[in-house]
Each structure stands twice: as structure tokens, then as C-alpha cells.
């Protein structure tokens, strides 16, 4: 008798609690009671019932800073309030796909990377922009001008995002020491030897060359500038993993030589963007290659004693049999996409198209961003402020993007391990890259 009572009350208790929880779930569908702090300093619109607040999430750093200016200008123009919410970069790229997949309604526009588009689109977490694009007026369509856009985010034939930024890598070099930038990696190696004190004690710079060496998203992407020009591939034309092919190993050997001959600083494995920038600005290295294009405006606006002599050129390549040089800069883009669970999607799309359009793009470019539009890269208005734009366009015309593989994060992890062991000389490129290729094949099998 007592046992039955016990189990019965247990059951009732659990049911009651489950009921309470699901009711809490219903209530939670409405926004939390705290009032969000509107950050941008532009005039706040009190007439929120007419013009809904558009919430945008973006990663903190120059992108966020630039977008805030764009948002300010937009609100002045249209009166529609826009809130730009920053989240820390490292955690941002990890979290934004999860945020979108969870169906949170905390924001309307999300800043996403090219590698995420396929998954998010297939999951229905971001909306196709086609219906919105079709509804544009003539004038608006001219401003959006899909032909001008270098890389829209596509999935299954539909546009899912418009790009805010496009990035690629350059060769940064000291033109006072190196009058003509090298065209091939061989020439680069010679120059690196000339300007490293380990090989040439009379060198004015301690090291000849530097690049992002810290394991992370950036290290493999940096390596691909070299690897692809030697003929290596992440996946080949048949979709097979190919980072252990001849070309990739040759590229690995190039980096190994740099480390072995001490042409790069020994702490290169802990050098990220900031450290590389500081090194070329202080004269610690004569060249930084491959290095992200975003460093150039920072040098120009910085206070380095060499800022007038630091120049940029396309990354070097490998001479082909027919005498041409194959250079393969890496590129990726960032997009704005519509959160399918967002609240004010029409207003959000209007901001999206304007911010990534020609007008908004111009403001963003002036603030330091690199919008993905031919017209902006060739714009006369920006020639003074952003002198590297013509080079951007030239690099982007020969640039390569990462393939849309389903095992992107696993492959980044595998390549990081391989490249770190190549740079700290604990493994030969053959060993390191074949291990990486194995892990990548496993990951590929698991996700396909």
C-alpha cells in the first residue's frame, strides 16, 4: 500500500514539474523583461511603433566599428533605428551557427562566414533572400546590383546572404630594402635569406619573413596561399582529400626551410595578426607574407617609422611550365544573412541591402572595411583613403576560396596540428600532412 503511494506521488510530482517547466517555456517565448541598451550614439527614434528596431549581431573588432558607422548613417537617412550588437570574435564564429540553429529571436541580421552558409541554409536557420530581392524597386535594385557583388552567398541556386567584407592575403614588404617585390616563392626564399641575420649577419632586419603562425582559423588559410600555388589541394576535383599530395608536401617543405634556416622568428607559432603587424611596423621583419589585407590600412593609419615604405603586392606564386606564374591568394567573405526566427525581417532586409549596397558599402570602406564590390574597389573616391583597393581587385581576380566541404572545422583542426609540427620541426611535411589527410578522410566519411 505504501509503495503504491510512493510511486504515485513520484509520478504526480514529476508531471507537475514538467508542466511548470513547459509553461515557463511558453512565457519565455516573449522577450525578457530587461530593456536592451541601445548602443549607437545616433539619435534614438522614439516612434518605435512605426519603425521597428533592427538588431544586428556582428563580431567585435574593425567590422563592428565600421558597421556602427554604417548603421548611424542609415538611421539618419531613414529614421529606422538599428542596434549593432558586438560579440567577441573567437567565440562569435563558434557560436553564431548554434545561435541561428537554436531559433533565437534575439536578432534579425547575423554576420556569418562563407563556410557556414550551406549548413545554415539547409537547416532553415537563415532565409533565402530571393523573395525580398524580387520585391526591390528599380532604384533599390541598382544599389544592390548583384552583378557588382563579387561573391554572393548561394545555396541550392538561391541567394542567402549579401557580403559585407571580403578578405584576402597580400605580400607586405619594405620597399626601401626590397625595391622589386618577388614573384615566386623561390625569389621570396632568397630575399628572406638576405634579410635574416641568421644567414646574413649584415641584415638590417633580424628576420626576413613572418606570417600568422598561431594555430587557429587563420593558420591553414595562410598556408593555402602557398599550398595551392604548388599544386596542393584540400580536396581534388573528385572530392578526395589531397593535402598529402606532392604539391602540398612541396609547400610544407618551403615552410620547413623557413623555420630551419631561422628566416622566421622562433616564436612564430604564437604570432597572430597583431604580432605580425607589430613586427613589420617595427622593422623586425622585412616581409610579411602571406598576411591579411586588413593590416594595410592599419599600417597607413598607424605610427610606424616605416609606414611610408611598407608596400603591398600580390602573394608570390610558382612558375609553371609555360613560363606563367601561378599565384593563388586565399579569400573568404563575410555576409549578412536573415535570421529566420527574427522579428522585424522586412526592416532588417532593407538595412541589409543598404549596408551591403553601393551607398552603405562606401561608408563602410571609408571606415576601414573591405566591401565585396567591384565598383567600390575601383571607386575614385576611395583611391586616397584606400590605396590598396586596386590591388585587392587584382588579387581577388586570381584568388581561390575554400571548398564547401562538410568537415570544415575538423579539417582546420587537422591542418593546425600538421602545420604546427612542420613549423616547430617536430615532424617532416610528409608525416605531418599524411596524418592530417587521414583525419580529414575520417571526418569526411563521418559527415557525408
Amino acid at each position: 500500500m505504501k509503495n503504491k503511494n510512493k510511486w504515485f506521488s513520484l509520478l504526480i510530482g514529476t508531471l507537475i514539474l514538467a508542466l511548470v517547466i513547459s509553461c515557463a517555456g511558453q512565457q519565455a517565448a516573449e522577450p525578457a523583461a530587461e530593456e536592451p541598451v541601445v548602443e549607437e550614439p545616433a539619435a534614438e527614434e522614439e516612434s518605435a511603433e512605426v519603425l521597428p528596431l533592427v538588431k544586428v549581431v556582428i563580431m567585435s573588432g574593425p567590422e563592428a566599428d565600421g558597421m556602427k558607422k554604417v548603421a548611424e548613417a542609415y538611421t539618419e537617412l531613414t529614421g529606422n533605428p538599428v542596434e549593432i550588437v558586438e560579440q567577441g570574435r573567437d567565440t562569435y564564429l563558434t557560436l553564431i551557427p548554434t545561435q541561428l540553429l537554436s531559433g533565437t529571436d534575439a536578432f534579425d541580421l547575423a554576420f556569418i562566414q562563407s563556410t557556414m552558409v550551406g549548413e545554415l541554409a539547409q537547416a532553415g536557420a537563415i532565409l533565402p533572400l530571393t523573395p525580398y530581392l524580387d520585391a526591390l524597386t528599380e532604384e533599390e535594385a541598382q544599389d544592390v546590383d548583384l552583378d557588382d557583388v563579387l561573391v554572393p552567398a548561394m545555396y541550392a541556386g538561391e541567394v542567402y546572404g549579401l557580403p559585407t567584407d571580403i578578405s584576402t592575403l597580400f605580400l607586405f614588404y619594405r620597399s626601401d630594402l626590397i625595391p622589386e617585390p618577388p614573384d615566386t616563392w623561390e625569389e621570396t626564399l632568397e630575399l628572406a635569406r638576405q634579410f635574416s641575420q641568421s644567414q646574413n649577419s649584415a641584415s638590417p632586419t633580424p628576420y626576413g619573413i613572418a606570417f600568422d603562425g598561431v594555430p587557429g582559423e587563420s593558420l591553414p588559410e595562410t598556408f593555402y596561399n602557398v599550398m595551392w600555388s604548388f599544386g596542393g589541394e584540400i580536396v581534388d576535383a573528385n572530392g578526395e582529400v589531397a593535402v598529402d599530395n606532392e604539391g602540398a608536401i612541396a609547400a610544407g617543405n618551403f615552410w620547413r626551410t623557413l623555420a630551419q634556416e631561422e628566416l622566421v622568428p622562433p616564436e612564430i607559432l604564437s604570432w597572430g595578426f597583431g604580432e605580425v603587424l607589430a613586427a613589420i611596423e617595427s622593422g623586425e621583419v622585412a616581409m610579411a607574407v602571406p598576411a591579411w589585407n586588413a593590416a594595410y590600412p592599419m599600417i597607413l593609419n598607424g605610427s610606424s617609422e616605416f609606414k611610408d615604405v611598407i608596400k603591398v603586392a600580390t602573394v608570390p606564386g610558382v612558375e609553371q611550365a609555360d613560363g606563367t606564374i601561378l599565384a593563388t591568394p586565399y579569400t573568404h567573405s563575410y555576409f549578412f544573412a536573415l535570421n529566420s526566427a527574427g522579428k522585424n525581417l522586412d526592416a532588417a532586409f532593407k538595412f541589409l541591402s543598404w549596408a551591403t549596397g553601393k551607398e552603405g558599402g562606401l561608408i563602410y570602406a571609408k571606415a576601414g572595411g573591405a566591401p565585396s564590390r567591384k565598383s567600390i574597389f575601383t571607386s575614385a573616391e576611395l583611391a586616397d583613403v584606400r590605396p590598396e583597393f586596386p590591388l585587392m581587385l587584382a588579387s581577388l581576380e586570381i584568388a581561390k576560396m575554400g571548398p564547401p566541404i562538410c568537415f570544415w572545422p575538423e579539417h582546420i583542426d587537422a591542418m593546425n596540428t600538421a602545420l604546427a609540427s612542420i613549423l616547430d620541426l617536430s615532424a617532416t611535411p610528409e608525416e605531418a600532412l599524411s596524418t592530417a589527410a587521414e583525419s580529414m578522410r575520417q571526418a569526411q566519411a563521418a559527415c557525408e
Binding site: I21, S22, A24, G25, Q26, Q27, A28, A29, P31, A32, E34, P36, V37, E39, V57, M59, S60, G61, P62, E63, V85, E86, Q87, G88, R89, D90, T91, L95, T98, Q99, L101, S102, G103, T104, A106, F107, G272, F273, G274, L277, A294, M298
Partner: protein
């Protein structure tokens, strides 16, 4: 001073030096952190502290992030989880202490739920909460915090209640008190120091909790404070200045709380350690 006093004094010197060493190892980093939060990012990066203090870092934290929202969320989650754990945990602990309810099985279940690494809960919680719709809310976080909070509360409270002699409770019952009166008027007041220490520890654990906050509270709707420090790892470098300021904002309330009740904490933690 005679020889014996001199000898005793000399014996104390190495001890004193040891204390200084310990202070140096354990407290200086924290002082450095707090002092550094008033320095510029470059000063920290080059370890070059100047004597001028600046509030810029704190200003940047307040301007760039919704720190206040996070603060409020932290308070809501920590206090609700602790309160709720105490509300249902203390009676359970009493029942287990006095009558060994559930015996070994229940005790083991509680222990193992405390042993469970939170990482194994994030996937089910994420998927379940997404289906129900509470994934990015304080409610979800509170439930997640109950995984460790409730077990901790029950386990510790059981110890303190065991310390209360049963004779006093018997005496109350003879005087006509029923169960609930005994509990609230007699047992709880006697076990109060330990129970309060446990609640405060629970509060601190919830406040400091990072993994669930990271995985389950995805946007500033429900984000708690520890996440704010990560915001200053930007695309290109770590902005040490505001990060230190954020660290300060996260830590200082806890430090104040802990120091105010430190007597209880030591007592509570160590008494609990013996069962």
C-alpha cells in the same frame, strides 16, 4: 630580551618570509589584475604600468557591451537557482539525514549527479530547450544550474543537519511541535551557519559558471557575466585593458561577498568535508 625570546623570534622569521612568499604567489596576480584594469591596453601588453590610472577600460566595457544586462542576468540566475535548490534541497537533506530516506541508492544518485561533468549535459539541454523554446532564456540556465546546485545543497545540508543533536528535536516534539515546526524553529536555526555557508558557496558557483552560460545562453537576452570577458578577444588582438576591466567587474562582487562571509565559508567547507 633573553635568549629564549630571541630564539622564538628568530624561528618566526622564516615563517614570516614564507607568508610573504605565499602572499606574493597568490595575491599579487589578483592585485595586478585589478590595478591593470585601470591601465591602458598597451601598458599591459608591455607590462609597463604607469602611475596614472584611467577609467577608459571600464568606460569601454560599459559602452561596447550590455554589461548591465549580463549583471542582472547573473544575479537572477544565481539567486533563483540557489534559492530553489535550498527550498527543495534542505527538506530532502533533512529527510535523508534523519531517516536515511532512499538509502544508499539515493545518496549515490545525488553524488553521481554532482560528479557528472557538465559538458555531458550541454547537448541534451541544448536540444531539449530548443524544442521547448527556452534555450536562450534565464529559465533554461536556472534549470541547468540545478544539476550541480541541488546535489551540492543536499549533500552539504545533510552534513550540517546531522550535526544537530536529535535530543533537541525530541525535546521539541515532546513539547508538542509537529515535524515542520521542529524543522523550522529548532533544526534550521541551529544548522544555520553551515546552511548559509552552503548557499553562499552555491551562489558563487552559479555566478562563476561558464560552460552552460557559453553553450545555452547564446545572446545577451540571457547571457551571464563571465562571458563578457571574452568579448574583448577581437579579430586582431586581445584588448587587454577592457578585458581586465571586465574581469574586475565579474570578480569584485564575489570577492566582496566571500570576504564578508569568509568565516562561514571556511567553517562550512571544512565541516562538510568530513562526511
Amino acid at each position: 630580551m633573553n635568549n629564549r625570546q630571541l630564539l622564538r623570534f628568530i624561528k618566526k622569521v622564516p615563517l614570516f618570509l614564507l607568508c610573504i612568499l605565499i602572499f606574493f604567489i597568490w595575491i599579487t596576480p589578483i592585485i595586478w589584475l585589478i590595478y591593470g584594469s585601470f591601465q591602458s591596453t598597451d601598458a599591459i601588453a608591455q607590462s609597463n604600468f604607469s602611475s596614472e590610472l584611467t577609467l577608459d577600460n571600464y568606460k569601454e566595457v560599459f559602452e561596447r557591451t550590455n554589461v548591465l544586462d549580463f549583471f542582472i542576468n547573473s544575479i537572477i540566475v544565481a539567486s533563483t537557482a540557489t534559492f530553489f535548490s535550498a527550498l527543495i534541497g534542505i527538506p530532502a537533506a533533512y529527510s535523508m539525514a534523519r531517516w536515511n530516506t532512499g538509502g544508499m541508492g539515493l545518496a549515490f544518485w545525488i553524488l553521481s549527479s554532482r560528479m557528472m561533468p557538465p559538458a555531458v549535459s550541454i547537448i541534451p539541454f541544448f536540444l531539449m530547450f530548443t524544442k521547448i523554446g527556452i534555450v536562450d532564456t534565464v529559465y533554461g540556465l536556472i534549470i541547468a544550474h540545478l544539476t550541480f546546485g541541488l546535489a551540492f545543497m543536499i549533500w552539504m545540508s545533510r552534513v550540517f543537519i546531522c550535526e544537530v543533536p536529535t535530543e533537541i528535536e525530541e525535546a521539541a516534539k515532546i513539547d508538542g511541535a509537529n515535524l515542520w515546526q521542529t524543522l523550522t524553529r529548532v533544526t534550521l536555526p541551529l544548522a544555520k551557519p553551515g546552511l548559509i555557508a552552503t548557499m553562499i558557496l552555491n551562489l558563487i558557483f552559479s555566478w562563476n559558471e561558464y560552460l552552460f552560460a557559453f553553450s545555452l545562453s547564446l545572446t545577451e537576452k540571457s547571457r551571464t557575466l563571465p562571458i563578457v570577458a571574452g568579448i574583448f578577444v577581437t579579430s586582431y588582438q586581445i584588448k587587454w585593458g577592457p578585458m581586465f576591466a571586465a574581469a574586475g567587474i565579474i570578480t569584485i562582487p564575489i570577492l566582496i561577498l566571500a570576504l564578508l562571509v569568509q568565516r562561514h565559508i571556511i567553517g562550512g567547507l571544512t565541516m562538510g568535508a568530513f562526511k
